[in-house]
Amino acid sequence: MSIFIDAKTCVLVQGITGSEGAFWTKHMKDLGTAVVAGVTPGKNGQSVEGIRVYDTVKQAVIETGAEASVLFVPPRFARDAIFEALDAGIRKVVVTADGIPVHDAMEIRAAALALDAKVIGGNTTGVITPGVAMMGFLPYWIDRVYKPGRVGVMTRSGSLTNEATAMMVAAGYGVSSLIGIGGDAVPLTRFAEMLPLFQADPATDAVLLIGELGGTMEEEVAEALEAGIFTKPLVAFVAGRNAPEGKKMGHAGAIVSGGKGTVKGKAAALRAAGALVADKPSQIGALFETVFPIKK
């Protein structure tokens, strides 16, 4: 089982002829992902890693039945590429572009909500079900991070994911599916919106939430827990407890301003809703032991 995509999901790669697009298309295929088509305007008829390239998403969807799309396009073209995918009927999109203008992101987010589409990102490393399928650029061959297992992972940070997940794996756990929702100030899909997928997934017994300072997404997860939308064990690690207010270390979403978005507030909300919160990555494994002990 898997969430978001499985081995049968027909995946399209927008921007497939770029160097990253081509490189990660190979890796997605190697893992078993059903990459069926690529799109780069003006390159219709070319082939990348054995995948046929089309001029338009519409054409690719008609001819290959693609139903999900991963974008390797520069941030300034993300809006156009995402709306092209949505307009062609695709309802699952993964957006790797780092640096989408906030006004573009607002427009995309509003449209995705209206269409009930799952647009993941921007600035995400992607989505993976280890051993099954991937959309994005996750180094799944690093076994100490991407070991298959029964814990769902959702994260705002690519760099921290590997760190935190490795701790969980070191404690004997593995990953069922991992969703990187990305580090932007306006994520196109939010943490709490992924919870129903993990809740419904029989392959997921618990979830690891990798959060950060800034915004309100961790608080929304706490609300979802309070509302009973997610009932499996949830362990959280939220980075940035000591970050200086108003200073940005890294991407746009990770900033505290006007006293809002503090890790202290997030951790308190999560704990109050029944989640376990690790202060250090090294505590993650032990916390899972308390709620979801490994059968030895």
């Binding site: 640096g99 939010r190 200073k247 006007g258």
Partner: protein, 370 residues
């Protein structure tokens, strides 16, 4: 990118929002010309980005030209990095309102906020009297509609001529918000004067850095930064923060950086500086290390987990940087990710002990500072 007050007011004026008569000066010699525009009494407003300018004495009133001259000189001489002063007419304030537009990430809409209690920080009002903030969400593709303007003006308790002026101000502010790719467009206070005029007495405006490709003239100056070093690093393309501690941090990615920052504090260490080593910078180890060394660290701590930013490329760059810069401080590395085995080989070759565990690396760095 946060704009200075005078830049925000330029945008307001362009879009039709009334602002006080005034002029920006860069030294005392320009004051006389500015007073011709502002008249007397006047306000002298230091153009710095930090909040609380009033309490810090960075805003001064003057009734005479001589008083203005003295106070202007004092402001330029202050230790707060005052490069520009906005000289403005003093307003006859009858009422202060608050009006702002920001981003609601949840709905993907613009969030309009207004309050009849302007002049205070909205964050404080949000805590002390949240019911006094009127909120309205606006679809940015559709634009702001007349009823949304009216709802806000009714909420602010306006009527008659100020109702109309308020509608015009909010509509203009919304246009500026959209046209300029703003993250925040705030007028605080929006002043109602004794003679019934509505004037933007102060304002904040922040433009999305990611939209710089379509926003002309978005350029940070020295005045945007707390130090020369941070400004120089930014000019060179390195996000860089200077602190007053021991560890020179080269890190990649917000999540990992913040985690390392937390761990350093947890284990009793302090940070000298932070440099973003990820993204396109992972190939620029020599420059990165140069900037890090200028932060005078007792130890350099490098923590990364790269995918596209390959570990072996980073390691190779570091080898070159060490060869070239011959740093006198010890270096601790936890460089992981794509090709991490090759990276480890390279690092060992130059005498480093490549670590894999972040906490171990942090503890090792702290130990070297003692």
């Amino acid at each position: 990118m946060k704009l200075f007050e005078y830049q925000a007011k330029q945008i307001f004026a362009e879009t039709g929002i009334p602002v006080p008569a005034g002029k920006v000066i860069e030294n005392v010699d320009e004051l006389a010309g500015a007073l011709e525009v502002s008249g007397l009494p006047c306000v002298l407003k230091s153009q710095v980005l930090r909040g609380g300018r009033g309490k810090a004495g960075l805003i001064q009133f003057a009734k005479t030209a001589e008083e203005a001259r003295q106070k202007t000189q004092q402001l330029f001489d202050s230790p707060h990095g005052v490069y520009k002063i906005l000289v403005e007419q003093a307003l006859d304030i009858k009422k202060e309102l608050y009006l702002a537009i920001t981003v609601d990430p949840m709905s993907g809409k613009a969030l309009i906020m207004g309050s009849a209690e302007g002049g205070v920080e909205i964050e404080h009002l949000a805590v002390s009297a949240p019911e006094k903030i009127i909120r309205q969400k606006v679809d940015i593709t559709q634009g702001i509609l007349p009823y949304q303007l009216r709802n806000m003006m009714f909420g602010l308790g306006l009527s008659g001529e100020s109702f109309k002026q308020g509608m015009k101000c909010l509509e203009s502010l919304f246009q500026a918000f959209c046209r300029k790719d703003a993250e925040l467009a705030e007028i605080n206070p929006l002043v109602l004067t004794g003679d019934g005029q509505m004037i933007a007495a102060d304002g904040k405006f922040s433009i999305d850095d990611n939209a710089s490709f379509r926003q002309e003239g978005l350029k940070r100056t020295r005045a945007h930064f707390d130090s020369d070093l941070e400004f120089e690093a930014a000019e060179a393309g390195f996000p860089y923060l200077k602190f007053n501690g021991d560890i020179g941090l080269m890190c990649a990615g917000a999540g990992l950086t913040n985690t390392v920052y937390d761990l350093i504090a947890d284990y009793g260490g302090t940070v000298a500086n932070y440099l973003e080593f990820g993204g396109p910078n992972y190939r620029r180890a020599v420059e990165a290390m140069q900037f890090t060394l200028r932060g005078n660290p007792k130890v350099i701590l490098i923590v990364t987990f790269g995918t596209i930013a390959r570990a072996d490329v980073m390691a190779q760059g570091l080898a070159e940087a060490i060869e070239k810069l011959k740093p006198k401080v010890p270096i601790i590395t936890a460089i992981r990710g794509t090709n991490e085995e090759e990276a480890a080989v390279i690092l060992r070759k130059i005498g480093l002990n490549p670590l894999c565990n972040t906490e171990e690396a942090v503890q090792a760095a702290i130990a070297l500072c003692k």
